[in-house]
Structures are given as structure tokens and as C-alpha cells.
């Protein structure tokens, strides 16, 4: 009971947050000039007024905003996110179809960034004033300072055009026929450049953070205690210090995840990665309201869920939180 109640509280609160996000997005999207039907018919190359009126009714755009909002939420509760204007498919199907690609990309980049960042940070922390430390600072900051699309384009030119090692776009070779293993390898090959690009921004964040918190932890009393027990430096650093130093990294990682998803928009555009980011970008450009709302909703859910996971991880790592 004691552990479940706070969790329930968090979940209830998250649901309210979600609702607020939905309302804001909905109002925002509907307040903007123009409505979806005009975009739709524009896309068709023009249409008769009758068709436009008909479409308005069909998509419920003839009702007033509160009614539309209410209906939208009512439908959403039932898991129905509406029909995409441009794709003419249920939004939920579209999202579910593009989601795996984004998750693959984002997760790979996420763990790549955390792993590389933390390792670099720890190494730098052990030699705080060395040349190596400065080198790490500059290298990791470089990844952060370069606009991500620029990094992407430069990588693309280098490793896909001048030295064609990696494929230039997409997630897999379409129509590729092969064993499961070959297919996996095919996907991995496509994954390298986008993942490296996306990760490059965040390596700096994590390495700086890991370095700072590791420096902090290494100076703490309990590390001296661990040393006084005769533990080897390896055990001291990687067992006693690391677990503590990871706490801020975990927090940051949780917070950053939201931005990582958004960052995927740019990377997916550069590499034609068939994920949510591209879907989102297109839905923005073509004012596909149901799809856009659905994606915003989904990314909020993902963020909220990651926050819950972060919370949970934090609880595992830090017994002080109960």
C-alpha cells in the first residue's frame, strides 16, 4: 500500500497533465488560421463548395470548438485518435506503424549517448585537470554545438557519398529478401548514421554531467570509507562511486528524453528515417490536425511514461526515496 499509493498519485497526476496537454494542443491547433478541409481540398487540387461542406461535416469541423474538443476527448478515451486527413487512415494505426522506427532510433541514440557520455565523464573525472580532460570537453561539446542537421548532412556527404559505407536513407532496403539475421544487419547498417547524429548532441550533456557528479562523489566521505576498507580503486570507482554518480545522470536522461524525441524530427528528415518525426513534420506542413494532435499526444505520453520510468529507476538506484 505504501509503495502503491504514491505510484497511483503519480499516475493520476500524469493523466491530468495529459489532459491539459490535449486541451492546449487542441485549442492551439484549431485557433490557427485556416482549417483542415481547405488543406485537404487544396491537396486535391481544388474542389467544389459542396464537397468542402460535405467534408466539413464528415470531419465534424462544422461544430463549435468546445463540442469538437469534447467529442475528441470522448473518442480518445476509447482509444480512437481519429482519421488522418492526408493519409486517410486511423491516426492510431499510422502512429503505431511509425513508432517502432522512432523508438529504435531514439533508444539507440539515447543509450549510445548515455553510455559514451558517462564513460567519457567518468574517465575525465578521474583526471580532472589533464589534457585528456580538456580534449573530452572539446570533443563532446563539439557534438553538442554543431547543429544536428548539419552533423547529419556532413556525415551523409562523408560516409554515404564520398565513402559510401552506409546507406543514405531509410531504415531498410525495400524489398530486401534475406534471412532474419541479414535483415537485422541491413537495418543496423541504416541505423548507424542517424543514431550517431542524434547521439552526438547528447554525449556532451551526459559526459559533463557524469564528470561533475563523479567529481563530487569521488570527494565524498563514503568513498574515503570505501578506500579505507582496502577496496581496489576499480571497485571504489565502479561500484561505490558510479551508482551514486548515476543519479543525476538518470534524472537528466529522463528529462532529456522529451527533447530526444523532438530532436528525432530533424534527424529523421535528414536521413529519411520512416519514423514519427517525419510523420510529425509532414503533419505540421500539411496541417493534418488529427495526426498532429495524435503525435503530440503520443510524445507527451512517451515523456510521461519515461518520467515514470525515471522515477522508478531512481527508486531502485537510490534507496533514500521511498
Amino acid at each position: 500500500m505504501k509503495t502503491i499509493l504514491p505510484l497511483l498519485k503519480r499516475i493520476a497526476y500524469s493523466l491530468m497533465l495529459l489532459l491539459a496537454v490535449i486541451v492546449l494542443n487542441f485549442v492551439l491547433v484549431h485557433l490557427a488560421p485556416g482549417d483542415a478541409v481547405t488543406a485537404m481540398v487544396g491537396d486535391m487540387g481544388g474542389a467544389t463548395p459542396e464537397l468542402i461542406a460535405e467534408l466539413r461535416v464528415e470531419y465534424g469541423l462544422d461544430q463549435n470548438l468546445p463540442t469538437q474538443l469534447f467529442k475528441y476527448i470522448a473518442k480518445m478515451v476509447r482509444g480512437d485518435l481519429g482519421i488522418s486527413f492526408t493519409h486517410n487512415l486511423p491516426v492510431i494505426d499510422l502512429i503505431l506503424e511509425h513508432l517502432p522506427a522512432t523508438i529504435l532510433l531514439v533508444m539507440t541514440a539515447f543509450f549510445m549517448a548515455i553510455l559514451i557520455g558517462t564513460v567519457l565523464g567518468i574517465i575525465a573525472a578521474q583526471r580532472p585537470n589533464s589534457l585528456f580532460n580538456h580534449l573530452i570537453t572539446v570533443i563532446s561539446l563539439s557534438g553538442y554545438a554543431a547543429p544536428v542537421f548539419w552533423t547529419g548532412l556532413m556525415l551523409l556527404i562523408s560516409f554515404s557519398y564520398y565513402f559510401p559505407i552506409f546507406p543514405s536513407f531509410g531504415m531498410e532496403t525495400v524489398g530486401f529478401r534475406g534471412t532474419f539475421l541479414e535483415k537485422t544487419f541491413d537495418v543496423l547498417k541504416h541505423l548507424v548514421l542517424p543514431a550517431v547524429t542524434l547521439a552526438s548532441i547528447y554525449v556532451a550533456v551526459y559526459s559533463r554531467l557524469a564528470r561533475a557528479s563523479m567529481l563530487d562523489v569521488l570527494g565524498s566521505d563514503y568513498i574515503r570509507t570505501a578506500r579505507s576498507k582496502g577496496l581496489s580503486e576499480k571497485v571504489v570507482v565502479y561500484k561505490h562511486a558510479l551508482k551514486n554518480a548515476l543519479l543525476p545522470v538518470v534524472t537528466m536522461a529522463g528529462l532529456q528524453f522529451a527533447q530526444l524525441i523532438a530532436g528525432a524530427v530533424v534527424v529523421e528528415t535528414v536521413f529519411s528515417w520512416p519514423g514519427i518525426g517525419q510523420l510529425a513534420f509532414n503533419s505540421i506542413l500539411r496541417r493534418d490536425q488529427p495526426l498532429l494532435l495524435g503525435i503530440l499526444f503520443l510524445s507527451t505520453i512517451m515523456v510521461v511514461v519515461t518520467n515514470l520510468i525515471t522515477d522508478f529507476t531512481y527508486r531502485i538506484l537510490d534507496p533514500r526515496i521511498k
Binding site: D35, A39, G45, H98, L285
Partner: protein
Amino acid sequence: TPGFAGPKRGGDYIIPVVQFPPHFNAAIKSGSELATPASRIFVALVQINENWEPEPYLAKSWEISPDGLTYTFHLLEGTTFHDGKPVTSKDVAFSLETTKKNHPFGPYMFGAVDRVETPDKYTAVIKLKQPHPALMIALSMPLMPILPEHVYGEAQGPIRKNPANIMAIGSGAFKVAEYNAGKSYILERFDNFLRPGQPYFDRFIGKKIGSPSSALIAVSRGEIHHLVVGDPRMLAKLKKEKNLFVISRSTSGVGSVNYIEFNLRKEYIKDKRVRQAIAYALDLDFVIQKLHQGMTHRSTGPIHSSSPFYSDQVNQYEYNLEKANQLLDEAGYKRGADGMRFSLDLTYMPVPVIEHEHKMIAEYMKPQLKKIGINIILKAPADFMNWYSTLAKWEHDMSTSNIFMWGDPVIGVHRLFMSTNIKHRVWTNTAGYANKEVDKLLNAAAVERDIEKRKALYAEFQKIIAEDLPLYFTIEDVFHYGFNKELMNIGWEIWGPGYESMYWKNGQAP
């Protein structure tokens, strides 16, 4: 096209898809992204060859009554849909009705059709209320696909919601095997296609590609098998690729022309001299030769130069800054202290793939019009809706735009100029142009069956437009197709390449 040993079957053909089609039903939606796959999946009654002549397709022959009001089509026998059901004249009638009702151009294409009669299974008779010279074009793919009534008919519910819009059933050379929304679609060969032997590819695959630059890499690596670059900049790159050969054509059927639209209600702009000054201040030769590297054409008016109704006997506004300045001075707009006369908003159509025709020209106009003292404020529409609503509300000063002729001026051109068509909708007469004479000319041209007389009417119309300049027509785009060298027998229609006759030299993709 080289190659002696007859066509070989086999292999996949992969095309890049820039805008992913939401479905394949060409009867309820227009657009080039849909046209390519839909033309593979569905057949039409006729095909229009490069000389604008109708050729048999589903219809093996036809007769036209002398008064031009009755068209009788004789269908090929034994043709079936992908689901094995036979194609009959009932399906033709159903398809025409459906298209008329649901297609955005339905009224323009088939407004003149009174009814379709089906005296027997293989004869379809189209009765017109008035002569309609553009009918044959409207009956070709992708404008009117032959749909199976048993799949798309009323009995199956509203057509817009029909699942077969995606898993489409037609009688074309390929049938739908896979559709991964936003990513790819795979079409497989239909063995019972009405042209024996064809098609030759095993599969016809469309694959979504986000940006032209990645498409370029992809085609050079053979990951896709052709690339259409609307953007002439990429042409040089394309030509450098060893495994490609390049064909440059304007898609005459679509007949895309670009223009600058003036909102005739706005101050300054409502003055014809200002519009003409702007036209004189733009160096279209520079645009075409330098910015587009000579890969687009000069457009002189609303009718595409490949059309039989095209006329170049109009004022062509040769680049002349002096004249432009003089016109503005005459109009009474003096330069201020900063050398500027007045400011104008300029918006442009946000179409990522053909930026050079819109954004680039808008960007070009900014420094160029500064030279004659007009300060241009670019209004970048973030999305299509923004642009659409700006124009539909008549809030723009100027905008770039383009329009497709869709085979015949009646379908694509009239709507821009008729004073009866001043509407709060894009690609109507949003400029607010009202000229009785133009109305009269266009109304006459719509029903004129004598091609020479019709030509004359349109020639006069083009001349007036160039003088009045409600829209200033700038360029026509040319499409450059980079095809894989191992492709054989590329056929052409007015709508683009015909993939049914194409095959791989070695019977498989390289």
C-alpha cells in the same frame, strides 16, 4: 531505346516517392503522387500519346457522332479485374459517374456528360449535353480509372471510406500487394493484363524518400531505379552518374505553369503599370539560364507550350529596368529618401520539392525589385494551410503559384480567369480579375469543336492576359528523368513514362 533481344521478364522496379499517396483511388483524388501508382493499377478507356492523340486502351475502338454529342466505345473482351471478375461497360458507366461526382475536377471534366448508356457488355455510349473537346483527355489515366462497381459501388458504403481505396482492385498491369502507409507500397505483376506479355517487371515498388538529396544518392547507388528531378540544380549531378541516362521532358499532359499572382484589390498593385513594371524588372532569362541553369522554359501565358492551343504572340516583358522605373514614375510612385517607393508583401507556395519554382523566385524577387524601389517583405507560409488561407482570404499582395492544365485548358485554365469564379478558394480567380471579353472568349472556347477556331480564341485570350497581367506567367518546368541504364523500352504518354512496356536488360534489377 537500345536493345534487340525481345523484352525480358523479371526484376523489381523501385521508384522514389516524395509525397506518399494516402490511397490509390484516382477517381476521388488528383495529384501526381497518386497518378503514378494508380495508372499502374487501373486502366482507362484510352491513352493519349505524345502528339495529343487518343490511342486504344480498354476501348479497342470508338466512334464520335458528327454533332460531337455521342461517343461510342467498344471495349476489349475478356479483360478482368485483379479479383478475376470481368470488366464490363457497366463498370465504365459507374466509373464515369463516380469520377464526375468525387473527383475535384469532376465538374470540369464531365460536367458536359448527360448520361452513359450500356447497350451491351462491351459497348459504352457517352451522351453529352453540349460539345466537349476535352472529353478524350478526361477519359485517360489518371483522370478516370475504370473501377469495378462490385468493389467500389454504393453497396460497399461511402466511397471515401472504402478500404479498397488502399488495397485497390483495378485491371491495370500491377496489383497491390503491400501498402505501408508513409513508407512504401509494393505492386505485383498482374498476369491477366489486357496487353498480352506486359508488364515485364515482377514488382513495382514505391519507396518514400524524404529529401531530394537522399534520393540522388539512392539512385546513384541503385537503391531506386529512376529519379525525377524537378529541380534543375540536381540535373548536373544526375547526369554525372554513370549508371543513369537522363531524359528531359515537360509533362505536357499535366501542363504545369508557374506565375506570380497579383491581388488586384490591393493598393499599388491594382495599377496595371505597377504590375508591368514588376514584370519588366524580373530577368527571367537570368532565372532560367542561371538559377535554373537553362533547365526550365519561359512561359508566356496560362496555356502550356506543349498544348496545341499555345500562342507566343504576346508581350513577353523583356528584362528592362529602365522601362520598369519609368512606368512606376508615370504611375506617380516617387522614390523616398532610402531609394524605396513602397513595400509589398510577397508570399509563395510552400512546396518543398519544387522550391526553385516558388521560394527561389520569391527570394530572387526581393533583391531584384529593390532595384526599382519596391521593398519586398517575404511572408514565408510555414505550411500549405497558411498560404492557402492567405490567398483564399485575398490577403496577399503577391504570391507565386502554379497550376496544372490537366490536358485541356477547359479543365485547368479557365478557372483562374472567369469572373464567375472569383471565390474564397485557391486556384479560382483569387486575383479578382473580371474582364467581360475574357469571359466571352473562354465560354466560346469551351464548346468550340473546330480546333483552328478554338486555337484562335485561345490566342486572343493569351494576348489579353499578357497585357492586363492579372497573373504574370513566368516559367514552365521541365522534368528530368534519370533512368537506370539497364532499363529498356521506355514509353511515353503525355502524363509521363509508361512503365508497362519497360523491362530490365537482363531480366532483373542490377
